[in-house]
């Protein structure tokens, strides 16, 4: 491992430590001026960040274990997603295959580095299989709606998320001095979580034009744009630790991650709102809601992966 990367990991851990300290200190303070929910929201973000940092630090040693962990997260997210989505008995067999074949298979292929297969397994094979399996059962009531739900669940929770561990196997053009596979994933996760935090922060500081009030009462255009801009700036600052050769490339990549991440959390909120209060009430309560924590990663990972692969990848 090179010195730059080590310093990068160290910096992130230090910042996380400070953020955790501040969060806990705010939590303990009794002051009416503080918004309880905002502090809880801040703390839960920091917790998720610790978790992912731990996962990726592990990736430096054992990439396979990281793939396995992401598989477990995807499995759990898929569980939450399908639980929130009404399906009928006619979808049961299709769902069985989704859970016990396609999900493990996707991550196995990522682990084996079979890009040619895992990039099409779900969009092509699972996509068609789900529709056909549901048709074989013979229940045509709301057919399109039902299969679309299962396909969407599999795409978002499994396919999109699997591109995060796939970064471990992405080879980019020789920048040997600074390139390290786990470093790429670490850079990606750091930027996603930082942009999430920055957007949330800016939305609270200054928000005039809400994007979609009914879906997310906090997220505003100002927050997203200011957040994305500050993430791009962060990219420039982090250039010394980035896998990309020039500062403007790192910055542009950070911008891409920030914008897709924001789109992800807004979309996931829309899905949850659609399912109404069932979400928080009955099932996911106590499980912490994995889905809500990975929404921005799900959207940013495949875009970041493919943009990087297109511009910097080697065949």
């Amino acid at each position: 491992m090179n010195a730059n990367l080590l310093a990068f990991v160290g910096t992130v851990l230090l910042l996380l430590g400070i953020a955790t300290f501040v969060g806990q200190w705010l939590r303990k303070r009794e002051s009416p001026a503080l918004d309880r929910r905002a502090i809880e929201s801040f703390n839960s973000r920091i917790q998720a960040w610790w978790f992912f940092t731990a996962v990726i630090v592990m990736a430096f040693l054992l990439p396979g274990l990281t793939v396995l962990l992401f598989a477990a997260i995807a499995f759990w997210a898929l569980r939450e997603f399908v639980t929130l989505t009404p399906t009928r008995i006619g979808d049961h067999r299709a769902l069985f295959w989704v859970f016990f074949f396609f999900t493990p298979m996707q991550f196995l292929l990522v682990y084996l580095d079979k890009y040619g297969l895992y990039s099409v397994l779900i969009p092509v094979f699972a996509f068609l299989f789900i529709a056909a399996r549901a048709a074989v059962y013979g229940d045509y009531d709301r057919f399109l709606e039902r299969i679309a739900k299962v396909q969407c669940a599999l795409m978002i929770c499994v396919y999109c998320l699997s591109y995060a561990p796939a970064l471990l196997y992405l080879r980019i053009e020789e920048q040997s001095a600074r390139y390290y596979p786990a470093g790429m994933l670490f850079f990606f996760i750091t930027i996603v979580l930082a942009s999430d935090l920055l957007e949330w922060f800016w939305s609270r500081v200054y928000s005039r034009h809400l994007i979609a009030e009914k879906i997310d009462p906090v997220m505003s255009w100002e927050g997203v744009l200011a957040g994305a801009a500050s993430t791009a700036l962060l990219g420039v600052v982090l250039q010394w630790a980035s896998p990309f050769p020039y500062w403007w490339q790192t910055s542009a990549m950070a911008l891409v991650i920030a914008l897709t991440g924001a789109a992800g959390s807004l979309t996931m909120s829309a899905i949850k709102r659609d399912r109404g209060e069932v979400t928080s009430g009955n099932f996911v309560e106590g499980h912490g809601g994995v889905l809500g924590r990975i929404d921005s990663i799900c959207f940013a990972a495949p875009v970041f992966y493919h943009v990087t692969r297109y511009f910097f990848g080697v065949a």
Partner: protein
């Protein structure tokens, strides 16, 4: 002991159940847990949702004709200490309720599904009278309503492969048979108690 732990873990893993006690606490006193019935896993699910101390004293009531068939099922039934009740041959002084009263003695609690068979899961069927007669014979038992949510999607009727979605088991506040309460009223009240847990 090992099978018990193993079964509990498997049941929890497949059902992803979150367990909630609403206006009610786990206790080792003699109780009757009565729940809606939508899947074959319900018995194991409710049983494994109880804390270990309570679980050791709790015996699920299960149908003899189903659970004594084959190789695996009798062994499973034995490991969670099921009380197998013959629902086909009912003799005088050997009625299911007599059997239950005798089997629980002064220590055990039971889990039962008063709907009789499995329902489709969207609604809770009418309750059979067993719960009433049991409450009449042993008015001291606490009757705890239990609502099982989403199990009908995890293992629907007629399917044998489970899909691991998330479910929940909700335990409600105890109720008792009131003095001179007519059978239909009591059964309707008990059913309402289960249904109410769907909303909380």
């Amino acid at each position: 002991m090992v099978t018990e732990t193993l079964l509990t873990w498997i049941a929890r893993a497949i059902s992803g159940a979150s367990v909630r006690w609403v206006e009610s606490q786990p206790d080792t006193c003699q109780r009757v847990y009565f729940a809606n019935h939508t899947s074959h896993l319900d018995v194991i699910l409710v049983w494994s949702a109880l804390p270990t101390q309570v679980r050791r004293l709790t015996r699920p009531v299960a149908a003899k004709d189903y659970w004594s068939r084959g190789w695996l099922k009798p062994r499973l039934a034995k490991s969670f200490n099921a009380m197998l009740i013959d629902r086909t041959e009912i003799k005088v002084h050997q009625s299911p309720v007599d059997l239950m009263v005798r089997e629980i003695g002064r220590t055990h609690s039971i889990i039962m599904f008063p709907e009789g068979g499995r329902s489709s899961g969207e609604s809770v069927g009418e309750f059979k009278s067993g719960l009433y007669y049991l409450a009449k014979k042993r008015p001291d038992l606490e009757l705890i309503p239990v609502y099982i949510n989403n199990m009908n999607r995890i293992l629907p009727r007629g399917e044998f492969l489970p899909v691991p979605l998330l479910s929940s088991v909700t335990f409600g506040p105890p109720l008792w048979l009131e003095a001179n309460e007519p059978k239909p009223d009591f059964l309707a009240r008990a059913r309402e108690a289960v249904l109410r847990l769907k909303e909380v």
